[in-house]
Symmetry: C2
Subunit: 382 residues, 2 copies
Amino acid sequence: MQILAGDRAPVMADVARVAGVSQQTVSRVLNERPNVRPATRVRVLEAIRELGYRPNAAARTLVTRRTNTLGVISFNTTLYGPASMLYAIEQAAKQHDYFVTVAALAAMDRRSVFEAVERLRDQAVEGIIGIAPQTAAVKILAAMPAGVPLVAVGCGVHAALSAVAVDNEAGAERATSYLLDLGHRTVHHLAGPRTWLDAQEREAGWRRALTARGAATPEPFPGGDWSARTGYELGRRIVADQSVTAVFCANDHLALGLIRALQAAGRHVPDQVSVIGFDDIPDAEFFGPALTTVRQDFDELGRRALLALIRSIGSTGSTGSTGSTGSTGSTGSAGSIGSIGSTGPAGATGGGARGSTARAANPVAVVNPTLVVRASTARPRH
Amino acid sequence: MQILAGDRAPVMADVARVAGVSQQTVSRVLNERPNVRPATRVRVLEAIRELGYRPNAAARTLVTRRTNTLGVISFNTTLYGPASMLYAIEQAAKQHDYFVTVAALAAMDRRSVFEAVERLRDQAVEGIIGIAPQTAAVKILAAMPAGVPLVAVGCGVHAALSAVAVDNEAGAERATSYLLDLGHRTVHHLAGPRTWLDAQEREAGWRRALTARGAATPEPFPGGDWSARTGYELGRRIVADQSVTAVFCANDHLALGLIRALQAAGRHVPDQVSVIGFDDIPDAEFFGPALTTVRQDFDELGRRALLALIRSIGSTGSTGSTGSTGSTGSTGSAGSIGSIGSTGPAGATGGGARGSTARAANPVAVVNPTLVVRASTARPRH
DNA sequence: GCCCCGGATGTTTGCGCTAACAATCGTCAG
DNA sequence: CTGACGATTGTTAGCGCAAACATCCGGGGC
């Protein structure tokens, strides 16, 4: 109604007036609909530029019911792994024209997870990625009637929850076997926090390797967290045991602390004790000595999780049938959206998406870690 | 109009019907407006619970023009500092009922920064925090007609850009002075990437300390990035110079690499060469030897940046005058919003908010780093 | 007893956009 | 030359919500 552009941000009607077309035609141009004469399109685009018009996302969302926003739940994005995954997720999301909203968990309990999910749903995210490697978090997430597609990443495989996981067990087994191959009678384990699935799986892999090779299975040293400090403190207990010649640590930070404790006690690494870590953080190569470790490809994990989620969203969205609605066309990478939208439903859930909110009950992908051998491991001296 | 709840998510009208009130009354209850009889409120809340009603954020945004969303631009959230700040920002945002959307920079150039800002503005964020410590990023951000409140964090002080900064120069000066106090004739510097303000400021602080004490100022070793690998490679050049007895590194990772290079060359740390870092990452204490470093309080930085941004938003928002609109009351922490909304405008800009988008031209806060002395530094042997 | 006032609630309107339908224009087969 | 058809554009309706205004009701001052 207002004729004067009284300081308010321009809206579509303003653009329409300037371009001399109807508001709907402006909408068509913006959404890259067919059947707009090139000349008209140009006029509209010029008007948009002239006015500095910017579409109102809320209004569009209100009618299309699409927010183009994904949520990421994470417990502690300060750790290298989660930070890397978050980063990779955002990068990938951008390419698919999605926004990423983060929700950090205040604490690791049902209430916090619930609140985080609620928070994201309040913002109407189209899907959620949970970077929550703790057992508790996974359980809670799996039990949560999310109402939106949900993918967990780096948290093992759990029924009723789509997941992109690292094969921690295989990695741990490989690391342990490697130490046994070097001639160690057995391998001790400095475990991660028992509440984390990664910790559990790595311990399981370590046990399996020892059992398979007929080696004794010493009591693992239970870690409280993933920090170097903990590694150091447990290390002081480990040094008391002269029979320890090889230790598989649940992550690199623990290994760092352990190495320090060993050295403080006058034990040489690797000549007297071999140490192996997990993750291959960038610093690991420069520990003294350089750390043999199991590398995880966090970027790949993040990327795959995102793809899995988008596929899941594609198969949920009831508006997907027309196909043309796939191109929300804001910046132009509609092609990639289309490809996901079209291959997703066919490949994943068989197109049968039964009304209810889809949440594939199977793991989506498993990424394999690789052993990186460096100076912190060596043949034992007998 | 629809009588049957045909599978669609319930809307306010559905709640109203169930509660036997008008839709507007439901709205009043949700927004914690006065003048609703307690009994009515209870009926409405029960209906909400019964239906599992969830307010539609887009619709609310459309009419209130508030998205309750903030954007965070960051170049690399994998690094410890940025990751910590992002984490702190999210935690603080949650308490003030804001969502946080992240936008990672694809590359460090004008175009990428511009795109990130545009991306966030497309999503109608109410304000932006830039974690962009590079000189280039700051310049671009400062020059950008953001259209929304913008606060930079950890990026020095720049006119025309609100900023929450660490006093890198003071920290570097302190570290350098400390080494001089120990008796070192001079202190060498392993610099960070020149494109980062932090690197520049730390180098400046180092220079200033040397000059102030009348010590020689050797050519700094220019770092390409912040990694241990770079520290190691530069370290191999440093070991060639037997006169080096103390090195101030621009961050902890560089220091780690340097220490490794020194040890590989048979130089003892700290007996022959003292090394000092910057940041105090959690691992630093467990480097071999434990690293003396300058601690930054990233959490505090993030928190302050968020507060500065919210204050800035408060002084921009034209709807703030009524006061009652401050409580968008979704989860109940309306109190904190109210306090910000009311103290912000008064305390910051004196209530005179002159129409145009506010962007305070002055630094908002400076956080002081502290020296943490550990084993990697010692008196030189003469 | 009448009027006025303020608390409680209802009704109407419009935020900016897209979907669905309607209208217009030119073109081409018959 | 006419009618139909497709390409292009316009018109109307409504997404879910909150603001503004209207209405209703009970109680107190006179």
